[in-house]
Symmetry: C2
Subunit: 231 residues, 2 copies
């Protein structure tokens, strides 16, 4: 498969996927990080040819042929002690999915859980939106998110669902221990069964006139609040 | 000028810009919030015609003709007591500018300051990315951002620049009082003169392998940290 963009290609080179070929424009080829890359074939190409190859104009002059994205085993995400995890319920927009993965990786989360259906897959667009973070962040899929949350609660993790109207302010939550932050799609929020499977619903208090934070902004606020509890 | 998308049109109707015409698809026209809108002309149109009119496919079946975006006077942003402000240095991506405006409005910021040059303007794409938040959020432009920061510091505001490598952790900062959060463009960060004009540079500590948070995620973390200090 193809990934494109400077950060996605650079992080693929630093990650676990095999990178078999790179195509880049002349000016990108001269960048030092690329000059030292251990790839058997690096070819110079025009921006237009690169755009055709990756089906996007957001390639920043570079794309690469890499191995398929390997989803993690959900059990793997629970292996570490007191993991911080993010579960996304039906987030179908690649930009939002990528942005949340990028922030999760930055905040030190152990991984991201997605329901297998009605969720964006880890496509090249998601890699790009994540700035390549998905190369270092375990992403697992589960058949039924509500059931999975029930299972991890029995294992001692705390599941907090983000809900704009919830009474509980995120600032009064102790995010220490194993934690799953559960966020829904914009517009729809969490499905009722998923919300019911959480230990508590928490809100980021809004002080403005518009309806709600974006899912990526809510994820950033909650992830770094949780990150702080484990500093 | 034209704005498009459900939230941007809805917030324009609730804001200060005159909305002279709306074009929407049949199914969008039947939505209750639009049925009660006080607009002299509301016309049904096809998705393709709406896309042509707004030059984007992200219109969600609706666009509107509205008055020009009115930038605020920078002095107006300083009128309130102990304002929380965001200054963006050379953020040229409409998605990032819109996302920061949305989060700023949600966090209760009094406004956003942009340098007049080398910054995205408040276009329809920015309105869309902000989910209409720019209709309620004063956005002002200044000729020289470093000079403006120097001036507001003399007026008693604290200016904190976000810098990935800064020694000062944002968690140890007291964001009470009048505060300007200064964020740079992705990739380039703050220009040296802008960084030097800040009282302090603060970092959101990174726990992952990728280089840095997105500007919109960093803005979300810092804005809600500052919002908390004034709860």
């Amino acid at each position: 498969v193809i990934v494109y963009g400077r950060n996605p290609v650079r992080e693929a080179l630093r990650g676990t996927r095999a990178v078999s070929r790179i195509w880049a424009t002349g000016s990108v080829l001269r960048q030092p990080w690329l000059a030292t890359a251990a790839v058997s074939r690096v070819d110079v190409d025009t921006a237009a040819a690169i755009a055709r190859r990756c089906g996007s104009n957001a390639h920043q002059g570079i794309c690469a042929e890499v191995g398929e994205f390997r989803y993690a085993d959900p059990a793997e995400l629970l292996a570490g002690e007191e993991p911080l995890l993010v579960a996304l319920d039906q987030v179908q927009d690649p930009q939002n999915l990528g942005a949340v993965c990028r922030t999760a990786e930055s905040a030190g989360a152990a991984g991201v859980i997605l329901p297998a259906r009605r969720t964006a897959a880890i496509t090249a667009a998601v890699c790009k939106a994540s700035a390549g973070a998905v190369e270092h962040l375990p992403v697992a899929r589960v058949r039924n998110l509500a059931d999975w949350l029930g299972m991890v609660k029995r294992r001692g993790l705390w599941c907090y669902g983000a809900a704009a109207g919830a009474e509980l302010d995120y600032l009064s939550v102790d995010f220490s221990g194993g934690v799953v932050l559960v966020l829904g799609s914009e517009g729809n929020g969490l499905r009722p069964r998923v919300a019911a499977a959480c230990d508590a619903l928490v809100a980021v208090p809004q002080r403005g006139r518009i309806e709600s934070l974006s899912v990526s902004a809510a994820a950033a606020v909650l992830l770094f609040a949780a990150s702080k509890s484990r500093a």
